[in-house]
């Protein structure tokens, strides 16, 4: 049973490795020539490296012979410089070939591999924009980000370093063992005992240290958890004067961390000396036996020297087996994640009906739309029509699914049933890009990138002129603010965009949206961290952008809701009520309750207005 299981596992593993290699081969293909040249040169370099000792050995043999003759006082005994020079000539050729081939590898292989990594990174970046949005519902940003930052890095290093070392180690093995047998079969057999012994020793330690490494990893997790908790709970710790207790607790975890990582490190550091001991002893045996062979005239001294050198050479890759296998494993794991991501299904990009933004007036109709994730239907049967220029307010608790509508309109998701039409055209018949051409989007969670203010606004329309950008910022009430900044439009927004305030960020995103001059706008009304002055400016800017456009507003302000042409009340992903303010109040339904539970003009950081904690018993009675 367990054997079968194991076999299955191995089969699955092999399949995955095969898959990874096939994908990787696809990326390497354009650089075939360089890659083959590089690997060929690795072979050449290793072959010459393996030849080196035996050729040097010829010189030793000659010198030994001549030396012996000189010492024993043979008449006319001298060093045969002609032979020596001949060997030296051969050595020079070997050295040159080796160095040149290594340099070729260094230059060409590096070029090929870095180019490949460049392609892979670009492919990943482009992939991100072709994946359906729902992919990111199931996959945390951090995980996707880690594919690009960590996995690509791991793969790059593996290809650049590990691959060469693995190929080198395998070749060294083959060459060195054949050279050993070529020199002397008996000694070779003696030396080869090293290999099984090394494997046994490595296995012995790896299985035992694995547990220690697992413990170390767990303790590290615990340590990081403690650090995060204590630093985030900083307020509480100083308020309750718990500094000493916090420090004690940290010392405890940190002390355990020290112990476990010491054990893991020390245990794994034992592998190399144990393998060295085997090698040393093998060298000792070979030296004694070899010397006896030399005395008996079975083999020349130079060959003994070469042989000992070979043992040193083989020791190197052997003592690295555990390290290399760990690197290879993590490289395959990384590759698995990279290529799985690249293989994800993409959105289709074609459209059946060509749309020109100029021809669109902005009539949005929902016809019996149903929608849900997986099999679960959230929105069951929604129909409404927004006429060109009308304002539609979306109202509901946090998490009720107000952004669903936005997702459907922009086709981040497709409807399950019914149809969404713009000016009578089903949006599924449009090309996604042409569809999105019609919209502007202002999210509460503002998205700005590191770069100048100008670039950030200009982002709304990449072919806009400078005066258009300035006009848009004036319309958005943000021009004056920009002027007060050092460098005005060239002011650099930093990576966290923390050098401008939340309200100003929102104004900038409005300017960006205005610049695009869309037919339809989707607005997520600001709720938080805005002072009264900027709040007024925001309100004005929003009114500007909403005029003459079909607007969908995720509303938090009473005034916005009251003035809307239509209110959609959303609960649990579905539109449960629709109508004007008065109509809905008269209905005495969900909206009426929401309305009375307190729509606020100002809010905390947690989206409080209209948002009721789902986990709490909701009661609407005021005390």
């Amino acid at each position: 049973m367990s054997v079968k299981k194991n076999e299955k596992k191995i089969q699955k593993n092999n399949k995955r490795i095969g898959y990874c290699l096939r994908c990787l081969a696809g990326f390497l293909k354009p650089y075939k020539a360089g890659l083959i040249l590089g690997i060929l040169m690795i072979v050449v370099a290793n072959a010459t490296f393996a030849l080196n000792p035996i050729v040097e050995g010829q010189m030793t043999t000659q010198l030994y012979k001549d030396g012996e003759a000189i010492l024993s006082g043979e008449p006319g005994a001298h060093v045969h410089f002609d032979v020596i020079l001949g060997v030296m000539g051969t050595l020079v050729i070997i050295y040159i070939i080796k160095t040149v081939s290594q340099l070729i590898t260094a230059v060409f292989l590096t070029k090929v591999l870095q180019q490949t990594m460049y392609d892979i990174r670009n492919a990943l970046q482009q992939k991100i924009h072709r994946l359906p949005v729902r992919y990111f519902d199931d996959h945390a940003f951090g995980d996707v980000l880690s594919v690009v930052t960590n996995d690509v890095d791991t793969l790059g290093n593996a290809l650049q370093q590990t691959m060469q070392r693995v190929i080198g180690a395998v070749l060294t093995f083959i060459f060195v063992i054949s050279m050993m047998f070529y020199i002397n079969g008996v000694l070779a057999c003696m030396a080869l005992v090293i290999i099984p012994l090394t494997v046994i020793v490595t296995k012995f330690f790896v299985t035992r240290t694995q547990k220690l490494f697992d413990t170390q990893q767990n303790t590290l997790g615990e340590l990081n958890g403690t650090i995060t908790e204590m630093y985030s709970g900083f307020n509480e710790i100083i308020l309750y004067n718990k500094q000493e207790i916090a420090v004690d607790k940290f010392h405890d975890v940190n002390g355990r961390m020290r112990k476990t990582s010491f054990r893991a490190q020390f245990a794994s550091s034992l592998i190399s000396p144990c393998i060295s001991l085997i090698t040393y002893l093998a060298i000792g045996c070979v030296a004694v036996t070899g010397c006896i062979f030399v005395i008996d005239g079975v083999m020349p001294l130079g060959n003994l020297q070469a042989f000992i050198r070979y043992i040193w050479q083989i020791n190197d890759p052997l003592s690295q087996i555990s390290q290399l296998s760990a690197q290879v494993q993590s490289a395959f794991a990384a590759m698995g994640r990279i290529f799985t991501l690249l293989d994800e299904e993409e959105e289709e990009q074609v459209g059946r009906v060509a749309v020109r933004p100029e021809d669109i007036r902005g009539r949005v109709t929902f016809e019996h739309v149903s929608f849900g994730y997986d099999d679960h239907l959230l929105m069951k049967d929604v129909s409404f029509e927004a006429k060109p220029g009308q304002t539609v307010a979306l109202v509901g608790a946090t998490g009720a699914g107000k952004t669903t509508l936005m997702n459907l309109l922009l086709r981040f998701y497709d409807v399950k049933g019914g149809a969404i039409k713009i000016d009578g055209i089903d949006i599924r018949d449009m090309n996604r890009e042409e569809l999105r051409q019609l919209f502007s989007l202002v999210l509460q969670d503002t998205w700005l990138f590191k770069g100048s203010i100008y670039d950030n606004i200009h982002y709304g329309k990449l072919n806009a002129r400078k005066d258009e950008v300035i006009h848009a910022s004036k319309m958005a009430n943000v021009h004056h603010f920009i002027k007060t900044l050092t460098g005005s439009y060239d002011f650099e927004i930093n990576e966290e965009s923390s050098n401008i305030s939340q309200g100003e960020k929102q104004l900038l995103t409005i300017a960006r949206a205005i610049l695009k001059d869309p037919r339809i706008i989707i607005l997520d009304e600001a709720t938080s961290s805005v002072d009264t002055r900027i709040e007024k400016m925001l309100q004005e800017a929003m009114n500007t952008i909403m005029s003459n456009r079909t607007s969908f507003v995720i509303a938090h302000r009473l005034s916005t809701v009251r003035n809307a042409d239509m209110i959609l009340v959303i609960d649990d992903g579905d539109i449960v009520e629709q109508g004007t303010h008065e109509e809905l109040l008269a209905k005495k339904g969900v909206y009426e309750k929401l309305y009375h539970s307190g729509m606020e003009t100002e809010n905390g950081t947690e989206n409080r207005p209209l948002s009721l904690e789902k986990d709490e018993q909701i009661t609407y009675t005021c005390v």
Binding site: K98, Q102, L109, V133, E229, L239, Q243, L441, S597, R608
Partner: protein
């Protein structure tokens, strides 16, 4: 690097042992070739097989000694590197505990976490390299050179001739690779940043059809990174062949000279063999030494980041001669023309705030976000110190009080309820360890937490996971209120702490608080007007100034801002009711 040296000093003995064990390793690596050369020169030449066997035995002994040395080396390395990392982390953590909010915000919690966790790890990795390779290289070089000179001065001159080249090579590589690897790192940071932006702005980018621009932006940075990586890796991979070439040339020169010496009976062949081995080992350890240069820049950045935290000056210091309060009973808190400006802020967040809260009173603070509500109450437990004016408790400036004793008297419930992993009981007792069982239950009951605690399978022993993900927002708030209540402080400060509660629980909780807390000062920061209707005094803040002060009814009549806020939250009847 100073940082690392400072910590290494604590483990002088281990470092010394580390150094000695390196010798053990070097002696074996170099001793074995020496013995073999003796075997050739004396054993083979004299055809003395017994001598050969004896020498074989010697190799075995040396191997064991060498291996023991290496094991000891491994032990020392692991001991020192883990101990130093542990010490650095401890010191960092203790340092952070002395910081005030100001430094905390300046550095950022996530950055501090990275510094304590990852940067310390970087140092550990670097230490491992230093303790093995960096110490091994000089020892190997010194020992092998000593052996070389002992066996033949003339040949050693040839080796000596290569040394300047090697040193030159190492210096050049370090000089060139340093900046390149820094550039590569910067390019990588940029690359990661753009990708992160691509992910966070996914919808916006699609809505604006700008993925092509992103692709171009990413591609540009990617090209830069690829170019720098290529440079760096080409440099690193060409280094090795060039080093070996140099070594090979030296070997040829030695063979050539040695041939003449043997011809003149000045040298034995065995010595030559040993000589070549020494050369091989000395050069090899030189090569290893270069890895130190590769790791140095990264470790140095980490060391600097750690040092930056260590060098921070805590902004809030305990008063030198901390006056103990005249009496233990707190009668009143007074804000006396208080102004406050964040250190990096240009404009004052609070301006000219004056009011007094007496024991038994409830004072509420309301105002729009950014009006300075939270800042105001944070001045009481000295999260920050005032820029102008004074905060007085019973006529004593808080800056003159012992910080710990001051905070002991305060029950502060912050907006974001932070709980710790552990049981519910531990979390409530966090407020006061020595509280009795009854006191704990009573606090839970007042905080309206008792019912939901009893519904949990483990009741008070129910475990709260890290980040308290297994509790709802409202439950977290109630527990943090219970934690403050169990202290029985004389000052209660609620910073919008009822925001996650539904209105019914909110009402019950406030009723219970009112009954239980009769003699303390209560300060509430609120968003909902309904929460503060019956406060003894409501302070309306607007852009850091007091825009109005009084009871609910008075403010409705007299303070337009307050009316505006109330109008948006309360129903018509409730407003009318007042008028």
């Amino acid at each position: 690097m100073k940082l690392i040296l400072r910590y290494l000093k604590r483990y002088k003995l281990l470092v010394l042992l580390n150094f000695i064990s390196v010798f053990g390793f070097a002696l074996t690596e170099l001793g074995i070739p020496t013995v073999i050369s003796m075997m050739v020169d004396d054993g083979v030449m004299q055809q003395d097989k017994v001598y050969l066997l004896r020498m074989g035995g010697l190799i075995a002994v040396m191997s064991v000694v060498g291996v023991l040395g290496t094991i000891l080396l491994g032990y020392c390395c692991a001991r020192i590197s883990t101990a130093v990392t542990c010490d650095i982390r401890n010191d960092l953590f203790e340092k952070v505990q002395t910081l005030s909010h100001q430094e905390m915000n300046q550095m950022g919690v996530s950055s501090l976490i990275t510094r304590t966790s990852n940067d310390a790890l970087q140092i550990m990795n670097f230490l491992n390299v230093i303790l093995r390779t960096a110490m091994l290289t000089p020892v190997m070089i010194v020992v092998s050179f000593a052996l070389v000179i002992m066996s033949s001065v003339k040949l050693s001159l040839i080796i000596a001739a290569t040394v300047p080249f090697i040193i030159l090579g190492v210096v050049v590589v370090a000089k060139v690779s340093g900046p390149v690897s820094e550039k590569q790192q910067t390019a990588l940071d940029g690359l990661n940043r753009i990708f992160k932006e691509n992910l966070t702005g996914l919808r916006v980018i699609r809505a604006f059809n700008n993925h092509r621009r992103e692709t171009e932006r990413f591609g540009q940075q990617n090209r830069q990174f690829a170019a720098q990586s290529r440079k760096l890796f080409t440099l690193m991979t060409s280094m090795e062949p060039l080093f070996f070439l140099l070594m090979n040339i030296a070997a040829l020169a030695i063979y050539f000279t040695a041939s003449f010496m043997i011809d003149q009976r000045l040298l034995q062949v065995g010595k030559l063999i040993a000589f070549m081995e020494y050369l091989f080992h000395a050069m090899f350890s030189m090569m290893l030494f270069c890895t130190v240069f590769m790791m140095y820049p990264r470790a140095n950045i980490s060391a600097k980041r750690i040092e930056a935290v260590m060098n921070m000056e805590p902004g809030i210091k305990n008063a030198d001669a901390a006056q103990t309060e005249t009496s233990d009973k707190i009668e009143k808190i007074t804000f006396d023309h208080v102004a406050f400006c964040y250190p990096d802020g240009e404009e004052a967040v609070l301006k000219d705030i004056s009011f007094t809260a007496r024991a038994g009173e409830t004072v509420a603070i309301i105002g729009s976000t950014g009006s300075g509500k939270s800042t105001l109450i944070q001045l009481i437990p000295r999260f920050y110190d005032v820029t102008e004016g004074r905060v007085l408790i019973n006529d004593t400036d808080v800056r003159q009080m012992d910080v710990r004793r001051l905070r002991e008297k305060i029950g502060f419930v912050s907006q974001k309820a932070n709980l710790f992993s552990g049981t519910i009981e531990e979390n409530i007792r966090f407020g006061r360890e020595d509280a009795s069982e009854e006191e704990m239950i009573r606090a839970a009951k007042i905080a309206q937490a008792y019912d939901f605690i009893m519904e949990k399978p483990g009741q008070f022993q129910e475990r709260i996971v890290e980040g308290a993900g297994n509790l709802s927002g409202g439950q977290k708030q109630r527990l943090s209120i219970a934690r403050a209540l169990i202290r029985q402080p004389q000052i209660y400060i609620y910073d919008d702490s009822f925001s996650a509660l539904d209105l019914k629980t909110d009402a019950r909780l406030r009723k219970a608080l009112k009954q239980e807390i009769t003699d303390a000062i209560v300060i509430i920061v609120a968003q909902r007007v309904s929460t503060i209707l019956d406060a003894d005094r409501i302070i309306v803040l607007d852009e850091g100034r007091v825009a109005g002060m009084g009871r609910h009814e008075e403010l409705l009549r007299e303070c337009p801002l307050y009316y505006e806020i109330a109008a948006s939250q309360l129903s018509e009847e409730e407003l009318q009711h007042v008028r």
